[in-house]
Amino acid sequence: MNTQLHNSQGGATPAYRLIWNLIGNERLTYGIAALALFLATAFQFFVPLIGSATIDFVLTEQKADANPLLKYVIAIIGGPGLVKNHLWLPALGMLGFAIIGGAFSFIQKRRASIASDGICKRLKDQLYNHIQRMTNRYLDQSQTGDLLQRCTSDIETIRLFLAAHVVEIGRALILLVTVLPIMLIMNAWLTLASTFMIPFIVLFGYFYFKRVKKIFKEVDESEGRLTAVVQENITGIRVVRAFGRHDFEIRKFATPNQEYRDTSLRLTRLMSMFWAPSDMMNLTQIGIALVAGTYMALQGMTTIGTLFGFLALLNMVLWPVRMMGRILTDLGKTIVALNRINEILTEPIETEKDSVKIRPERPTSGRIAMRNVTFSHSESDTTVENINFAVEPGETLAILGPSGAGKSTLMHLLLRFYDCDSGEILLDGFDIRELERQYVREQFGVVLQEPFLYSRSIKENIRFGNQVAKESEIYEVARLASIHDTIARFSDGYDTEIGERGITLSGGQRQRVAISRALLSNPPILLLDDALSAVDNETESAIIDALKNRHGKQTTVVIAHRLSTLAHADKIIVMDKGRIIQTGTHDILTREEGLYKRLWDIQTSLEESFQEEAMKAS
């Protein structure tokens, strides 16, 4: 697997180098394909030549010295005398050469496709792998849409180049190098007369498509605008109906619809201005060969058979040559796409520091500590400063604070999405930067603030926590997360698909599925980043109770703001603006002035205004 596009020095790589590197290990396969193509072409050319030889030596009894190649051909199928009495011989010869040529052509197409599609597959795999392992710092900066575009349309451009263009260019080149010698052997002057226009045909295509390149983009863009209008209309159809704006929408749709039609029509007209002249040029070339050949045959400079052979060969060569110009124009697009993909592949991935990586044999006991942790270089996370805390195995740490206080940042630092700027984070006494990243993450069961579920069945989503889990274990964690009954009510139960092709879960349901997933891995430490925010109070209490009673206590770090959750914690830290402003247990914090106490008061006592209201009502 070596489709590495980039050279180790980095920097801009020249285009030919990019393509050469891309083709990589498949150079040999392409070589075989080229050889097979050469043989296929040669054999296929023999088919009309048999006709030519038969015409010259058998049917018209020409002076045999006229054409050495044809003489050779007639010798292969048995010599003029034999053929004359057995005309099925050349017929059989034609068939035989066609079959052998066909066999080589089969080999060529198969090899070429194995090479092209193989390269493409490996490039895709490599890109996918790379994206999964890129640093969070890079992922924060890049836009999902842009990344996705590179993974899809740029890859598609390259696929087209490999699957169609490389093969087409190869074919045209090999046809030329095969045909030219044959023609030259048969008749040099006639060769000149039959091929002199080929460079012009290629150049015409090249410059033509270069000039009209813009219109292709315009058509794409106007199609994009049309799709955007449709998309907006259909997603907003309820608003359209609510305001009875169908006529307005129909008028609004008419403009881009007409625009797309008119740009497409313009493209059609332009294309007709390419195909008609290029057809004319090709046919003129054949016509010139015909007239020149006839003239030369009359002068005795060539034979009817040769002329016949020339016309057949020209028909084979000219039509593919016509597309060369367009392919050459498209090369530019391929280079751009290659460069864009190369940019991703040269981005650094999460690598370990050079120092020794420790991977303890046993899972962590669950002891966590942060010492003077400061971190600030991230686009998506809040800066945190001078964070200190310690959690013993089996303890629950609760973090409370307004949004933007830096609570999630702490979670991300624990998971080594980023490394802190100064201070240290300890797991069982090891600095987590010294531990293998994979090991660190294995120690945590995580539910992120906006949990991501994969578009698969619910069961598969939960099973991601532990691939070897039994069904009964899946049901058990789903019960713990109070989602089992909900899932059981879906018509497909646990096999219900989520996402694009399936159902949309509510926020609370998503959170609970994600909690089940985290529980299934039975990790030493559980991280819940506001993981119950969309769950109603009763369900939340049920989940918290279930977690508490779970056998084999885990260390738990939980970000929450409901006191029912916070009150159970062994330690509570209150954060604001990246700093810890209060630390303590529930008992201590309810006695100290501060955010915690204020929240506690609200939730335990009904406020006066409400009391009054309720009194008044009754």
Binding site: A98, R110, V230, I250, V446
Partner: protein, 617 residues
Amino acid sequence: MSQPYIEDEFRNKLDLDLWKRIFRFALKHKRLLIPLTSSALLLSVVEAFFPFATKVAIEIVEQGRPVVEVWKPGAIYLMLATMLSVLVLIFIRCAGGISHHISHDIKRDCFKRLQELEFAFYDAQPTGWLISRLTADCDRLSRILAWGFLDLVWGVFYVLAMSAVMLAIHWKLALVVLSTIPPLIIISRFFQKRMLLTSRQIRKHNARITASYNEGIAGVKTTKTLGRETRALDEFKGMSSDMYGASVRRAMLGAIYLPLVMTIGSIGSGLALWYGGQGALNGAITLGTLVMFISFAGNFFFPINQIAMVLAEMQGAQAAGERVMGLLATYPKIKDSDNVKERLVTYEKQAREDPNLAPDGYPHIINEIEFRNIGFSYNEKETVLHDFNLTAKRGQTIALVGPSGGGKSTIVSLVSRFYEPTKGQLLINGVDYRNRSLDWLQGQLGIVLQTPHLFNGSITENIRYGRLEATDEEIVEAAKLVNAHEFIMKLDDGYETKIGEGGALLSTGEKQLVSFARALIANPQIFIMDEATSSIDTETEKLIQDGMRNVFEGRISFVIAHRLSTIRSADQILVVQKGVIEEQGTHEELLANRGHYYELYVNQFRRERVRAELEAS
């Protein structure tokens, strides 16, 4: 664009009736269709005559004619080449023209129909699915209609013309060469069908790969926390291998097909040489004729290949055709009854003169809406509302509270007549609303949805959506009334600020304010509001609350309420759960009951206080 909905259907039988109906779209463009057909016909004849030029040339040599006669084949050739090029120019323009015109027409008709269909239709169809119907399906159909038609006409007539020329010149030799046509047809049909199916598989795999990239990028953090990188890569490799396999299979089919038909072509040429060669030796036919027959034998492949390809594509696109024609044959179920239509005609003039009269002849002012024993179900299985009764009077605000899925949205959809009750009656001023004009009723609605959908454009354009003829001053006035003016003025371009796709550049609260103004500017008699559940900052929320008070006055308002202040100020509160009204009354009455409402209220009370506290610190 990703294509999540790629259809796999392939119809073995061509439904000619369907294609006839689809072809009607092409018949509308006779100005292009006639030259297209004639150019295809002429082209097949011209192409059939090309070998004739060769024949003439060879006969000149064969018979040792004077050199000057070389101009003859040259002139024939040049003439044919010019005709061919001109015909190519014409047919590309006509076929392209028809294709794009049809595509435009089908899309226009489908779009129009989609605007008329009721909510129930949209409930059943995912958005992405509908979008691909309107784009991919229409494009594919129009392409096949124009280019497929061209290829069919050209292909059939090319075969016929070549056969005719050959039969006219030497019928025996012609029959020998023509014997290769049946196997060509069988093989081409076989391979074209399979190649099309494999190409589709490739597209399907490709769509899965795109979806996988999408998921890989969007879920990268989760994948990392789960330590799934390797496993995810393995799964991805499975998909890319599938695509690789399908691509190689597709290439293999082509790799077998082409040599195979070329071989058949050479069998034809061989037969012509064998049989015709003997004739040439006897002097029964000229060498020129023989050469011409040999070329013809090799040419049959092209038109037959084209015909097979078009037929396969028609089989592949038939499902798309059925869907598009199906959509065009779907008519809205909720519409004015014949009785209403009659009234609309009868009272047309009167209503125009009298502002107090609605177009259907009933009074324009809505004083009372009554739900009488209303039941509703989306399908037979599940009943959403049972025996629902309510009377709302002009000036009143009705708050609907209760758990999601309890039936609150259904009630407001029934008022809006997006759905009609399956049982009971909904009366406006005592008249069943099915006897009223639908357009009139919906013109009296102002609706603010929970996740307000705004359109890509400026704020002015979005507010004006409520009443297209509203002036800029009226827009500002509406914005002021709902408290949106202040935040709008703070934006870079004020009212002309572009708000992005779906209003992406605004916060949820701001979107709601704009959609509030949009609903208000229509000066509706019935106001429907679905409060946002998602958190809106306290300040904006207060603005919305105040705005509501201004707006609800003098109208009948239905609010699906989540906020205490909204609920408290309502004239009637309905606790809706599992399709029935559990409790009904004013805030004080319900609170005194100490029932379900009391519980809901206490919980909400705490939640709002905590949120306020967390924001303030």
